[in-house]
Symmetry: C2
Subunit: 253 residues, 2 copies
DNA sequence: CGTTCTTTTGACGAGAGTCAAGACTGGTGG
DNA sequence: CCACCAGTCTTGACTCTCGTCAAAAGAACG
């Protein structure tokens, strides 16, 4: 593959490079990964609970939710994935799906087979470390979701979620958080926050009445970013955005 | 190091081996890792928010909580770590702590410097994969906690937590879940579940009145395991316990 | 243009929080 | 050996956030 022929995985390399240092060889190895585009319809599971997963999925467009299930049939979304996220990278080392993945809107992903990912990770320690790091960031986000759902009231919870999605979207598109596409329904948002859609609706109204956000169709406009972060008790540190984590050259002590 | 001279890290090797395939060279490399025992007093933070972490900590005895903070000062525990867990392994690739770590009781850990861990991961791809896998399992547990806190009522939540701790303890000690040491106060449990200590107390009473569990001091006795898993809506799949994840030899597709 | 999904509203109910006081418990020292 | 003390656990009464149910109004889509 020549450098002038952009691989569809270029955004993935960019994403990895924003947190990990990769050399040219590593970049090329990733760009050369086999990948298969797939379009997924709205509200369609593309990974089911307990399934043996064989591909990781890079989100090109759309929105993906990671669903956990509780007995009474109510669902909880434990993570969401926006374009430039590699969903399911963890499945390379833990192939049995312990949560379902569903497209929340029509979504296009690039499927990358585990074998290929494992091979490049084996061959290039820097890539293995980068994959591991992405997994650590995912865990960090999950940890913050536990806090959000466990200890914040409904309005704060919603504001926090919006701050997170805004920040992640902005990092992906390179701008500042001002407006972003968020094709989830209020019922989906309820499942992300552990609330009911009725209550989510009331909280959206509250935020709009305070003129902190405004909504046009599926895009959310942030009117007062600072205020939203205050309401949402939001500190972006846990997202590890936009800073390259350099570490002292490895010494054993 | 001779095999007849047991390294304090032997339990760590055992833990890793329960999920990942390691050869003799890899085992020895891990057993040879530098490590420094440390005792931590009850309710003492040993990693603070935002700190640059330089060691991972293997829990030898005690109980560790990972704390997130919300504005109003209330704390939420997003993960707990029992003996044989390597806390903070993720910090090797993401050294800035985005949650605090606190001993919930007097705890002994083995501190292992990042540099050494990164070195063995670089040198042995199988170790890198094993570390990555542990991180994936941690994420899976976090994901289940989001579900637990987000969508289950108080009694179910508590039962689920007890099931998880029982299963993890049993895996560590090799038995079946029957009784386990759990030195957390009800206030700690409240912070794990996103409840108040008063309500946790009421739920503990409910479970005891139903004769599902009984409590002596800091150890919890499981009277009816099956019933507890039903009440707690518990399916241990997400813990990836006791099964070696074998995968087809890596092919690129 | 009708069908289906989504958002919005209102009245009411319930699970969990709050506050405050009292009973245990284990550890300490006189 | 007993008294004390701080930290837990337990209780009860009252409050409030959020859930439930149901119906209507809007949007989206073929």
């Amino acid at each position: 593959m020549s450098l002038s022929d952009p691989s569809p995985l270029q955004p993935f390399v960019n994403k990895l490079s924003s947190r990990s240092e990769l050399g040219d060889a590593e970049r090329l190895a990733i760009l050369d990964l086999p990948n298969f585009p797939q379009q997924i319809q709205s509200n369609r599971d593309f990974v089911r609970l307990g399934e043996q997963v064989e591909h990781a999925c890079f989100v090109v467009a759309g929105l993906v939710g990671q669903f956990g299930q509780s007995r009474n049939g109510t669902r909880q979304i434990s993570a969401i994935h926006i374009p430039t996220d590699m969903v399911n990278l963890h499945s390379v080392v833990a192939p049995e799906a312990c949560s379902a993945l569903q497209a929340l809107t029509v979504t296009t992903v690039l499927r990358v087979p585990h074998g290929a990912l494992r091979d490049v990770a084996k061959q290039y320690p820097a890539i293995a470390e980068a994959f591991w790091r992405e997994c650590a960031v995912d865990a960090s986000v999950l940890s913050e979701w536990v806090v959000n759902v466990g200890r914040r009231d409904a309005k704060t919870r919603l504001a926090h979620l919006l701050c997170e999605v805004a920040s992640r979207s902005a990092a992906a598109s390179g701008g500042v958080p001002s407006s972003f596409n968020f094709p989830a329904t209020q019922a989906h948002v309820a499942d992300m926050l552990g609330l009911t859609s009725v209550h989510v609706n009331r909280m959206f109204q509250a935020l709009r009445e305070e003129k902190v956000i405004s909504i046009q169709g599926r895009t959310i406009q942030i009117v007062e970013w600072k205020r939203l972060t205050q309401i949402g008790d939001f500190d972006p540190g846990y997202l590890s955005l936009g800073r390259l984590r350099t570490h002292a050259p490895g010494k054993s002590d």
